[in-house]
Amino acid sequence: MTRTHGLGWCMATLLVACGGNEDAAGSDADTDTGFTTGADTDAVDETSASTTAGETEAEDESGDETGETEPEVELEVLSPPEHLIRISMALRGTRPSTEDLAAIEADPDRMPEFVDAYMQGDGFAEVVRDLHNDALLTRVEGALPNYAPLEDVRPQRIADSVTATALKLAELVVLDDRPYTELVTGDTWMVDDVVAAVYGITDGGSGWREVPIPGDRPAAGILSDNAFYLRHESAGANFHRGRANAVSTAFLCFDYEDNNIELDDNIDLTDAEAVAMALTTNPACQACHETLDPLASHFFPLPGNVMNNDIPSYPVPDLYRPANADDWQQTTGRAPGYFGQETSDIGELGQAIAEDPRFTACAARRFYAYFLQRRLDEVDGDTVDALEATFQDSGLQARALIRAIMLSDDFRVAGAASAEGADEVQGYLRARPFQLALLLEDLTGFRWEIDPTLIDPGQGEGIIDLSRSAAVGFAVLGGGGDSFTVIESAHTMNATTSLFIRQLASEAASYVVEHDLREGEGALLTLGDAVDEASVREQLASLFFRLYGEAVESNGPDVDDAYALFAALHGASGDHERAWKATLAALLQDFSITFY
């Protein structure tokens, strides 16, 4: 492969200590490269074949607790243009413009400038929502009744809006550079016209907008938002403990469910009173319930099932009922509290979370894990510490945290330089289905949508995006999740993800070829109906740069293969439009599209 930009993919290497993965089950994302924050990125000598061991922070931390030295793994890193492509895909699901690629090749020091530029717009907003959904799991597809005034809206569309509010709030906090603590202390809701109708908000606005929290609900950001409780329901007899754990897991990265439960044979489990007593007196039970139950007691003002099928009409009555706040007295008997600190309601709970060092550490861990495609427990403490320091220094602006990750050495890892230790070095990141949708829309202008009103006008308004929908479309089959049964995205390919990408690529190719060649709009194809070899080769070279960021020669080996494909297809059908559809379909499902 000819790569003329930068200095090539292996122009620099890093030596890092590579921690072993002790999980016998293995993982497809077991990279532990150590971490160097963004400001240090330029310390990697772009012109050298390798850096010395002392040039990464991880080298200083290479000994484990037993004093044994972990083996060093020599890593290769991305060139600046490749790094820019990865950043652009991660932050907004699209490729850098050809101008940006040329600019970064000319001046790699401009990387922070591009990172900031890419943390804008709809694509980045969707990435932010997706990132937070990994923690909140609120993006669940369902249906809510289309009562007046929403009788012309599809029930699924209503549910989409109602469940989106928490993620829209996270988007607002991040894109508006508000202190990240507003995630749990903010005093506003995010609503669109559908949500406003459901909850009876009459602010006169339109589109997604920020409104004051209605009613008597304390200000607690997402904890004041119904979407969180809609997703994390509470079984009546469990007294909101599930919700408490959802809060702890999402905001503190502390999951009570990670603890093993060892039944004490001395407890008569057939005696409800004995069990209840054990929760407060038996050490094995107390270990969790001592803090879990007080957390749960904050949520008694909210019904266990926030919005069930019994909704009679819109607007629904206020779901927050302060009169129920003391119901803990008749159930667990534990007053609201935050790990030993007295708190009274969700407002004080949010404040306590915001002041807890685990909150910022958890954010650093989550952001890193999301962008590097690791599990939370794979992110080492030194990395968290370094990121958290950057986060704190910025006044808790999430974009500063993201910037540090994007510019880190870890985010530039292209792979292992040799076989030794290579199993634990993940040099490819896999695009999620929504990222592929963003990418192909940017490249071709195509969105893979269906409009149910075209099939059955009686269903009401509401588009279904097949790349993003798990219930109707291919979000799960394409490797994403549904926030319920599949809560982690796949990091590799299988038969159905291959079929998803094949079909998405074919649809987009068909669309763009018809538009570009028939209508002369030239979004991607600019050669018109020319089929001579020189024109086709020039077009293909242009496509390689636009699609993959690869500056290849029109007579080079990559274009040789692509031209051979086009020529064979054209020769067989005699139809240049069909040949371009097939060629573009191939180019759009390439390895370099799926992985970045």
Binding site: M1, W9, D23, A25, G26, S27, D28, A235, G236, D258, N259, I261, L263, D268, L269, T270, R375, G415, A416, A419, A422, V425, Q426, Y428, R430, W448, D451, L454, I455, A471, V472, G473, F474, L477, T485, E488, A490, H491, T492, M493, N494, A495, T496, S498, L499, F500, R502, Q503, Y511, D558, D561, L565, L569, K581, A582, A585, D590, F591, S592, F595
Partner: protein, 416 residues
């Protein structure tokens, strides 16, 4: 000449022999590789209502008696005939294991543990392990037709049909999501012919090999390149078998899932299949619903067993039936039961020591220690049976070896 299946049989028997039956008087070794169907009873079943009969804990008057089927005691009732009916017909090829200590009351964690043996969910589950060992070259070695399945590093051999059978829209797109001219994204479409698709795949593979020669040479990167290439092959193979996947529609019922599973196994599309009985077993309110729910479940299991017999597949197939947890011995204030970290499970089919019951739950459904070879709770090497040994045991029953993924001795007593 030795056939592929004969070869697999000999190697698998060796693997199983290294794990079960060594150094004991009992030879609990699977005699050959078997296909695996897992039936996941989602939500947490109340085992007192059926396979761990404790009438005093059922607290509803709709049971008649505890009936023995071989050595298996089952709570039966005229109002839920399917439970007794299953064991009447198929108890001789079924084995029940009690006292599986899941050590959690979280749906999420327990589900992961009962499928994979591990709490993290990053490892492969039983179906993925067995399929990877015996049928990696199948179009979709591990088929997840229900909601639940964990593939871990074996993602490339696994695939889902989707909650409403969306796989059909990928196998035959034109029939399922028609294009409308009124759409701003309307186009005439492109469907590659066989020769065009072959040319496309050749191009993609050549590009992938170039990637392998540069960044994709080593370790995890090389695995990604291989997965990419393998997924192309498997995707095309699946499309060649599109007619067997039914049609897109509403949520797949238990019966729908069974039908699809059997077809996939019978046609050598898959070696393992995961089915989810998503019937509403999480009865925090009104636990009496467990009776009807389990009646439905065992009706579905009878259907599955009868179909396996009718298609001549029963001796080559193991079925593992399990829930993520069980329910508390006592009723709560809502007359429901909450989550309980000790459960029971069942296997049936080929190679199973039929009509047997192993392990034990105490009076308050606490796990009794058990000998992994004999299943006795009183004699032998008594140990805690946890989810790891359950998973390892099912894999061994199917002739496989879970040790690369699960570091625990397998529970072997149900191997015939």
């Amino acid at each position: 000449m030795i056939s592929r299946r004969q070869f697999l049989g000999s190697s698998a028997a060796l693997a199983a022999a290294s794990l079960c039956g060594i150094g004991t008087s009992r030879a609990s070794v699977a005699d050959k590789p078997r296909r695996l169907i897992t039936v996941f009873v989602r939500g947490g079943w109340d085992i007192a209502h059926s396979i761990d009969p404790k009438p005093e804990l059922v607290a509803t008057p709709d049971y008649d008696d505890v009936t023995m089927y071989g050595d298996i005691p089952i709570l039966t009732s005229a109002t839920r005939p399917n439970i007794g009916g299953f064991f009447e017909e198929h108890g001789s090829m079924a084995s029940v294991v009690h006292g599986v200590n899941v050590r959690s009351i979280s749906h999420k964690v327990c589900t992961r543990k009962m499928f994979t043996g591990m709490p993290s969910g990053t490892g492969p589950d039983m179906g993925a392990i067995v399929a990877n060992e015996f049928a990696r070259d199948y179009p979709m070695p591990y088929l997840i037709v229900g909601a639940n399945g964990f593939t871990g590093p074996l993602g490339v051999i696994s695939g889902r049909v989707g909650p409403s059978g969306q796989i059909n829209a990928l196998l035959d797109p034109q029939d399922n999501f028609p294009r409308f001219e009124a759409s701003p994204y309307f186009h005439d479409g492109f469907e590659a012919s066989g020769s065009e698709q072959a040319a496309i795949e050749a191009f993609l593979n050549a590009r992938a090999e170039r990637e392998r020669a540069t960044r994709g040479m080593h370790g995890a990167n090389a695995a990604r390149v291989s997965d990419f290439e393998e997924s192309l092959l498997k995707g095309t193979a699946l499309r060649d078998n599109a007619q067997y996947f039914g049609s897109i529609g509403q949520e797949l019922s238990l019966s729908d899932q069974v039908s699809l599973a059997l077809t996939a196994l019978e046609r050598d599309l898959s070696w393992s299949v995961s089915i989810t009985a998503n019937l509403g077993f999480d009865t925090h309110d009104n636990n009496a619903e467990q009776g009807a729910l389990q009646n439905g479940l065992f009706g579905g299991l009878s259907n599955l067993a009868n179909e396996l017999i009718a298609r001549g597949m029963i001796d080559d197939t193991v079925v593992a039936v399990f829930s993520e947890m069980s329910r508390t011995p006592a009723l709560n204030a809502a007359l429901g039961k909450d989550h309980h970290p000790v459960t029971s499970a069942m296997v049936f089919g080929g190679g199973v020591a039929g009509g047997t019951v192993h392990g034990g739950n105490g009076d308050s459904v606490n796990a009794l220690d058990v000998d992994f070879e004999t299943g006795s709770t009183t004699d032998g090497d008594l140990r805690t049976l946890d989810s790891q040994s359950w998973v390892s045991g099912v894999v061994a029953l199917a002739g496989g070896d879970a040790s690369p993924y699960v570091a625990a001795d397998p529970f072997c007593a149900f191997i015939g």
